[in-house]
Amino acid sequence: MIEILAEGVVKAFGRTRVLDGVDVAVPGGELWGVVGADGAGKTTLLRCIAGLLQVDAGRVLPGRPGQSRLGFSQQGFHLYPDLTVDENIAFIGRLYGLDRATLQSSAEELLAFAGLRDRRASLAGELSGGMQQKLTLVCSLLHRPPILLLDEPTTGVDPLSRLEFWDLVEHLHVRGSTVLFASAYFDEVERCDRVVYLDHGQVAAAGTPDELRGAHATLEEAFLELTS
């Protein structure tokens, strides 16, 4: 069953067509990666799928924000700098209607992963960029969504934290979550079941990492040849 879908999606800002007939269909329980250069349309695609942007043409799933089964970790820091780590978590958790005990256990587990346990009383605005990114991810996972959209969540995160982050994504994947992951790093999407190359708002290629790599040593080389 397809859990995440973009079918012939077109999205323009003014005269610029950012997405031009994009097709992506992620079956339940799979981990897919969307990779492409800056400006390829990765963020716009994920926002359309989440329903934060209305598509000009085509169809998307889930396509409607505010669903408890969707988690979306957006690029950059989108939480409250004047609230502490705990206050941010409590606020987002309550918006999802979590009870106190569930919120506490979920937060405990995720904060432990993120290495933020000791910073629970710190203002979010005082955390480093990488920690803020992790907090954003923690907040998007609090309600354990079965569908996850991750928009470049490791940008600005140190290498060790990136590895820890991938531990979590793979853990969620193993547990059956459906994940669509956007990244500018080719080594990251190597871990995905399937990879979609996005180039100038169009799908340049799609397949398993092995299929796309072909005779090339890395996915990056394959992508460069494809787009050159």
Partner: protein, 371 residues
């Protein structure tokens, strides 16, 4: 640090249990939004200054400095000196008469032109006033001088005196006149500016995107962002009423509950305006500029300073679209005259209509997408 291991075979994550008492999850989300807003306000010193500092500053400025009662009008006698005239002017209390006498009207005009005096009284050889020159460049001084000199002249005539009784503000105090309107200005400041900034700040920081992903609805978001400022504005109303009573002796003669009820309608309309601004502005700077653009006509055209009756129809129709126009009338009515709802139906209905219109318009514009 590794995540706590969960057995692989526990399949897709089941939805987490919801809050036990959350039979009305909308209320829980609303409460969370309000609580979050108050935490942010408490930690933001600039917003705190706007909430407490601005009302206090406005109260002091309008209560003490913005005084329409002109005193010490510099005056000189021209041509001849006269003790009876000096005594009459001195007894009036508003005139400060120079000791030297100007030789002629040309000299007096020069004194007025250079700001040495505001009024020059030309006396004939018998010491009686034959002409008065007044500096018309300052309207307040000119009208006060003209009014007082006319009264003095009548006082010395043989006609029987007319007994004048001024009701509701017997001393014609500017403070009594200004404070009811000032309450409207302060609440406009809080409701309009803080609401607009509150929403735009969410957009500028990108936090609104996080909110859009959650199950919070457009209505909850709107109400959750406005309730804190409604509470703060009502707190400011209480604060200003107390200070004006203790500091300026201006008390509420009418029903305080009625005043708060009308303030609620007025605030709802103003919050709607603030929300509308927040849907138009992209940055906090734009929101501030737009707020000033909305506030200025409220101060000038609401009848707070200039009477509506004196405005041409080309401008007056704008006054009727401003919530402050009605609230200023309500506040003066309740505070100074002690009138009840039976005398304030028109204003109450107008405030209700404006509240529905402005909030409705904001709701139509308020979207839960990034488009």
């Amino acid at each position: 640090m590794a995540l706590a291991q969960t057995p692989v075979d526990d399949a897709a994550p089941a939805p987490l249990p919801r809050r036990a008492g959350a039979s009305r999850p909308g209320l829980q989300r609303l409460w969370s939004l309000v609580r979050k807003e108050f935490i942010e306000i408490r930690r933001d010193r600039r917003t705190l200054a706007l909430i407490v500092g601005v009302p206090l500053l406005l109260l002091v400025i309008f209560g003490y400095a913005a005084n329409f009662e002109v005193q010490h009008i510099t005056t000189e006698l021209v041509g001849h000196d006269s003790m009876p005239v000096r005594q009459a002017l001195s007894a009036n209390g508003r005139f400060a008469v120079r000791s030297q006498v100007a030789p002629d009207t040309a000299s007096a005009e020069s004194d007025i032109q250079h700001g040495r005096v505001a009024v020059a009284i030309v006396l004939d050889a018998q010491g009686l006033p034959s002409q008065v020159l007044i500096d018309g460049s300052n309207l307040l001084i000119a009208t006060t001088a003209e009014r007082e000199l006319t009264a003095l002249q009548h006082g010395t005539s043989t006609a029987p005196p007319v007994h004048v009784v001024v009701l509701y503000n017997p001393t014609l105090s500017s403070t009594d006149f200004m404070i009811p309107g000032l309450i409207g200005i302060i609440m406009t400041q809080v409701a309009l500016v803080l609401t607009a900034l509150g929403v735009v700040r969410e957009r500028e920081r990108g936090t609104i995107e996080q909110l859009m992903i959650t199950p919070v609805t457009k209505l909850e978001l709107m109400v959750g962002k406005t309730i804190p400022y409604l509470i703060i504005a009502l707190f400011d109303l209480t604060f200003v009423l107390l200070v004006s009573s203790l500091l300026f002796g201006v008390h509420v003669r009418g029903d305080v509950a009625l005043l708060f009820g009308e303030a609620f309608l007025f605030l709802t309309a103003t919050l709607g305006m603030g929300l509308t601004i927040s849907t138009l502005a992209r940055t906090q700077l734009q929101a501030t500029q737009m707020s000033v653009f909305v506030q200025l006509p409220q101060m000038l055209l609401s009848g707070l300073i200039f009477p509506l009756a004196a405005m041409p129809w080309g401008v007056r129709w704008i006054s009727y679209l401003l919530p402050l126009t009605y609230f200023a009338a309500v506040a003066r009515g309740v505070m100074l005259k002690g009138v009840g709802i039976s005398d304030l139906w028109t204003e109450t209905i107008a405030l209700g209509v404006l509240a529905v219109a402005y909030v409705g318009f904001a709701a139509l514009r308020f979207k839960k997408t990034l488009d």
